[in-house]
Symmetry: C2
Subunit: 406 residues, 2 copies
Amino acid sequence: MPILNENFLNLSQRYLFQEIARRTADYRTSHPDADIISMGIGDVSLPLAPAVIDAMHRAVDEEARQKTFRGYGPERGYLFLREAIANGDYASRGIDISPDEIFVNDGAKSDTGNIGDLFSADNKVGIADPVYPVYVDTNLMGGRPIYYIPCNEKNSFTGDIPQIKLDIVYLCFPNNPTGAVITKEKLQMWVDYALDNDCIIMYDSAYKAFIRDDSLPHSIYEIPEARKCAIEFRSFSKTAGFTGIRCGYTVIPDEIRLTTKTGERIQLNKWWERRQGCKFNGASYISQRGAEAIYTPEGLAQTQAQTDYYLHTASLIRQCLESLGLHPQGGTNAPYIWAKTPEGMSSWEFFDFLLDKAQVVITPGAGFGKAGEGWFRMTSFTSKEQTECALTRFKSCFPGKNLQNR
Amino acid sequence: MPILNENFLNLSQRYLFQEIARRTADYRTSHPDADIISMGIGDVSLPLAPAVIDAMHRAVDEEARQKTFRGYGPERGYLFLREAIANGDYASRGIDISPDEIFVNDGAKSDTGNIGDLFSADNKVGIADPVYPVYVDTNLMGGRPIYYIPCNEKNSFTGDIPQIKLDIVYLCFPNNPTGAVITKEKLQMWVDYALDNDCIIMYDSAYKAFIRDDSLPHSIYEIPEARKCAIEFRSFSKTAGFTGIRCGYTVIPDEIRLTTKTGERIQLNKWWERRQGCKFNGASYISQRGAEAIYTPEGLAQTQAQTDYYLHTASLIRQCLESLGLHPQGGTNAPYIWAKTPEGMSSWEFFDFLLDKAQVVITPGAGFGKAGEGWFRMTSFTSKEQTECALTRFKSCFPGKNLQNR
């Protein structure tokens, strides 16, 4: 009799964005003429950069000819892309990461979940609250105990250093959902904690392309000795609009070790390679060639123009929410804005309210964890025109701006 | 202290094809001028069909324009592709599979491994020997006990029906590595076993496009009531040369149930959707448009011409091995040929022997399990010219064809 992995029963029935999609679809069914604007899911809207498009056309053409056809690629990704990443994202900032420590994948979401395969159910996992739900859900599936790290205005949404020993800590900066960034000094405190407690930091920096303040760390490896304790996850989804193209990468330095029950210390990236050999067959060649083109001078300029555009819409959202007294956080150096719901409304109530009154979809903060209750997230990825329209409607729900601060 | 999932220690250090790649690279280092022909890994060599290429160019162009740009797709795949699959692969053979029971992925390998996430470590798993190593390795990672089902000449490499109760059984037809096919009558016996024992069959039919004998089942759902007990895995890798493009699909009928410890019966595909929502973000849009094109009249004709080509090279390999008295199996209705090593040689010895004497890479049978010892696998995916060259060299290793039957 096939038996369920009972850990699944600890999950909520629906993944957050599946639930948002369901409520939105229900509303559309009962209001077929509604012109709904989604400021909810973090999906980009600008078309791909010309440099990326050209590279993908060339890759498709290569697949059309006998001499240049490529079948299975290396599971860890083609060297041309791993070298472009090592040079463009690391060496350019004085960080020494070898192409052999880089594992190309089909997106950061997959690997932030998949990495759990390597860890026993005994590991204590620290996860921010509020948080991107994937870290929570995939650790629940793996049966690992979770300790929540409250992120709030008091600690600038960067969490207080835990007083207990954790084996794994997930950090994400620039943050999803709060849009918070972390300073080098604070990140140093997290690295010190990890080194002192033999803890691995899972560092999700999928949004690093939005950092404009150069004093902020772009990579956790800008902190001395982070190579000994941190795995970094990156994505081209937001850097270059690859949400439909599917390509990202994971960096696992050679120094990262896991302990066996007999006390042996094994090199994690060797076992990750073994895992990938069994459960992954590389990202699409066409996607990898597209990703490589991001690192050309044209690609860099074109994709930075995209993130500039989103940062501008983020500033419009911030201004609007500020004017309504909703205490916006983030939205500078990050594509997300985190703000308070009007007095008395739960975050799902505010979701339903805005969908009904303004046909605008936001993401309820409670979907990101208990500490997200009373907050909501807006994203800057919708077009400027649609964002302006959404904000006008949004304001019209609050005539006279007579909102109470909470 | 981060603790390893100890189940990983039950894996061999290297994945089979990683080991083959290593030995081949070592040989190349010591023999830099060697012209090595690989008949080992099952990778295709023909360029993609024009219909697929055109569709992918169009998809790239869509991603270049604001109005047609697509970001995140549905995690389970676009409806256009799921409908093409339901019509082209199922309705066309009188099988009723709904697009909602189809989950598009980045290749069958990923999902034959990932599906294990849903199953507790208590499930008893039946796996053929010899076998594609992914089933074994991913179940070892999940800590599930494995019962090997010997596949040999006596049972036409289709396994004897087990005398014990198993919770999961993996079957693959046309088979990798043996090239064996299964009749409807024998497959009915497996389905009856599964229904009688409340067992789920994981049916890998990644090679169904090579079936030319129409009396053979193309899908396990041609067997009555298989919807109640079988999950089917399919891939475009060999159907249409998508090994570098990464697209396949999994069919999970609504009837398939898992049992919780309290005896509740839950619908497996609902929880698979939940799993995918957390750990996957859909296959590349460009790959999905390419896959859709396989089902057009041009796409069908062009991709069938490809599999016809490979089946012709398979027949050349069979003839050669037959003439050398090596008892070839498979190679008709399947792209793989399975044959005996010459007397006294282990399969890795024969691998090294052929690499050294003929610069031809085969896959040693022992890499597929204990029962594979004394056998080797050749694939028909190399070009006709290279295959002919490899076979000439192969024969020259056995002057006078004076091989002993084993």
